[in-house]
């Protein structure tokens, strides 16, 4: 007790600044109370936002998911797991998502790795930032517009119409799983390249030289050093893309044309068309749980494989 009091008076003596090491960028002179009030004021809007528009809505759909559908649609209070038991009714959506999301993420990875490797280790220094910017830009431009571009290209008046000139007729490109997969790779490639680039760029190049000096072939240097050390980045990219794909709606809708539908399509249908909110909530909760499991598993794998901690994207 006396220790705390002593510390407070010391803080006041030094103008309210904390001791070196944990000093805030925005120091406040004055009493501890005023300091706490300022901190609370700074955090209040964000806290309010997170509680009202993230935590409460999540609690709301959790409650809905154990409820029943009212006869006219919407929600009726109940405590039942019938909605969860009914999940197999949307098995096709789950199956499509669970098959195409990992395949899509894997396809993304196979295309992204060489690009990230080139950018981090081979590209000329003065080109590196420009090339990196060229990767980032598509990620921040409208996914709707970029997916639309492929709809335009793969659609009946796009590539198929051109192929008629070389004698290939009646080729259907759009509204196939292949088109959805192409859209996935196109849409999420930047998100896969960035974390891999970050982990490759941090790589200590002396390790590569050491490996070569010790007589390792380029292939075994790549497998034993480069690939191994970039695995945290690979896992970050893979799990991020995978999680975003689990909730994808636009790509299967525009390029799958109602033939290849995802969980996202089931959710739109249940909430905006058939108005079965409790069942939709159960699917949404399941989707979030699957995402959490994917994140945890990816984290475990990356920790075990590399012995290092996860790489943050931003």
């Amino acid at each position: 007790m006396s220790k705390t009091g002593h510390k407070t008076s010391q803080d006041n003596a030094t103008g309210g600044r904390k001791s070196a090491g944990s000093q805030p960028a925005f120091p406040m002179r004055g009493s501890l109370l005023r300091k706490n009030l300022m901190t609370a004021l700074l955090l209040a809007p964000a806290t309010l936002w997170l509680v009202v528009f993230l935590v409460l809505p999540f609690i709301a759909i959790a409650i809905f998911s154990v409820g029943e559908r009212a006869p006219e649609g919407g929600y009726q209070a109940a405590l039942t797991f019938a909605q969860y038991a009914n999940l197999p009714a949307r098995a096709t959506a789950f199956w499509n998502t669970m098959v195409l999301a990992p395949i899509g993420a894997l396809a993304c990875l196979l295309v992204a790795y060489p690009v990230a490797y080139y950018l981090a280790l081979r590209a000329p220094q003065r080109w590196r930032l420009i090339l990196l910017a060229l990767i980032v830009i598509p990620f921040w431009t409208s996914l709707l517009m970029r997916t639309y571009a492929w709809m335009y290209i793969l659609g009946g008046r796009g590539i198929p119409a051109l192929l008629v000139y070389v004698g290939i007729e009646d080729l259907r490109l759009i509204n196939t799983p292949g088109a959805v997969l192409l859209g996935i790779v196109y849409g999420y490639l930047p998100l896969m390249i960035l974390p891999i680039y970050v982990s490759l760029e941090r790589l200590d190049r002396r390790l590569l030289e050491a490996s070569a000096d010790l007589g390792a072939t380029p292939v075994s240097t790549f497998l034993g050093v480069t690939l191994r050390l970039s695995l945290p980045g690979v896992m970050t990219g893979f799990s991020l893309v995978m999680i975003l794909l689990l909730g994808e709606y636009l790509i299967p809708t525009l390029l799958g044309g109602g033939k290849v539908f995802f969980i996202g399509n089931a959710l739109v249908d249940l909430f905006l068309q058939s108005r079965n909110w409790p069942f939709g909530s159960a699917i949404a909760i399941t989707l979030v749980l699957v995402s959490v499991v994917v994140l945890i598993v990816a984290n475990r794998i990356s920790t075990r494989l590399s012995g290092a901690r996860r790489v943050d994207l931003i």
């Binding site: 970029r146 709809m151 008046r157």
Partner: protein, 270 residues
């Protein structure tokens, strides 16, 4: 490997280039370029529904990005002053706001707001003196709030990263020279984090302007540009959409380049 990288860049940019090219097509179809024309731009901009959707999107993106930049920056500053446990909790919530799929954010916000309105509206009606009480409903407010959630988390992270690399000696020197905390903040901290705040604002704007899925659920009777474009794509592809897409793509690219330039700035110009 180099050829592969070039091919990937072509893969990333050719479809976009094609859309831009065909927005200037005099004819109707992607299979034939029949001549240069800006007629589709004229058609797009004289479509009242499209212009209305564009105005809505601009208003929503500006408001939500401003709110996000303000609250996110405040939160990043506040997080520097709290204990490790509070910080970890906040980081987890901010991470969730970014990682949870947009479709789940959309439906959970929809469910929560509809329930909230069902409680609040009769209450307002019972209090209101006249026969026409204000009625809360989905619209601008709900889209702005739902977009702001992601944007605020993004701004907090970007500004937080910049704060972590801030030169503490300057802050200390300022305090030692008897500057008030406000002066220190205004003349030392703010100029250093300003590029991150601006970049955060621009990315937040881009996100909100481009988002389809969240707005799709919480827009109520309002239409944003992505919702309008999505609806017209489902009715059939027309070159008019190419013109709109080109305008949106150009605006996004410009904003992202601006954001990157701001983030890349080491020191503010005097």
């Amino acid at each position: 490997m180099r050829a592969f990288v070039v091919a990937v860049f072509a893969f990333l940019y050719l479809p976009i280039a094609l859309v831009v090219l065909f927005s200037f097509n005099a004819g109707h179809h992607a299979s034939e370029f029949t001549g240069f024309s800006v007629q589709w731009y004229g058609k797009a901009l004289s479509n009242p529904f499209l212009v209305e959707a564009l105005k809505n999107s601009l208003f929503i993106a500006t408001t939500s990005a401003l709110l996000a930049a303000f609250c996110g920056t405040a939160a990043a500053l506040g997080l520097q002053r709290v204990g490790a446990r509070t910080r970890a909790l906040f980081d987890a919530l901010l991470g969730a706001a970014i990682v949870v799929p947009g479709v789940v954010i959309g439906i959970s916000t929809l469910v929560a707001l509809v329930q909230l309105f069902a409680v609040v509206n009769p209450f307002l009606a019972s209090l209101w003196p006249t026969d026409q009480p204000p009625k809360l409903s989905l619209g601008y407010g709900s889209i702005i709030a739902a977009h702001g959630l992601f944007s605020m988390a993004l701004v907090t992270m970007i500004v937080g990263t910049r704060l972590a690399s801030l030169d503490r000696n300057l802050v200390e020197a300022s305090s030692d020279l008897y500057a008030t905390p406000l002066t220190t903040f205004r003349s030392i901290v703010l100029p250093q984090i300003m590029p991150a705040v601006i970049a955060g604002f621009l990315l937040a704007f881009t996100f909100s302007f481009d988002d389809f899925i969240i707005a799709f659920f919480v827009a109520g009777a309002q239409t944003t540009l992505p919702i309008y474009v999505f609806a017209s794509i489902r009715r059939g592809v027309t070159p008019e959409i190419n013109a709109v897409a080109t305008i949106v793509l150009c605006a996004s690219v410009l904003l992202v380049l601006l954001a990157q330039w701001q983030l890349g700035r080491r020191k503010p110009s005097p």
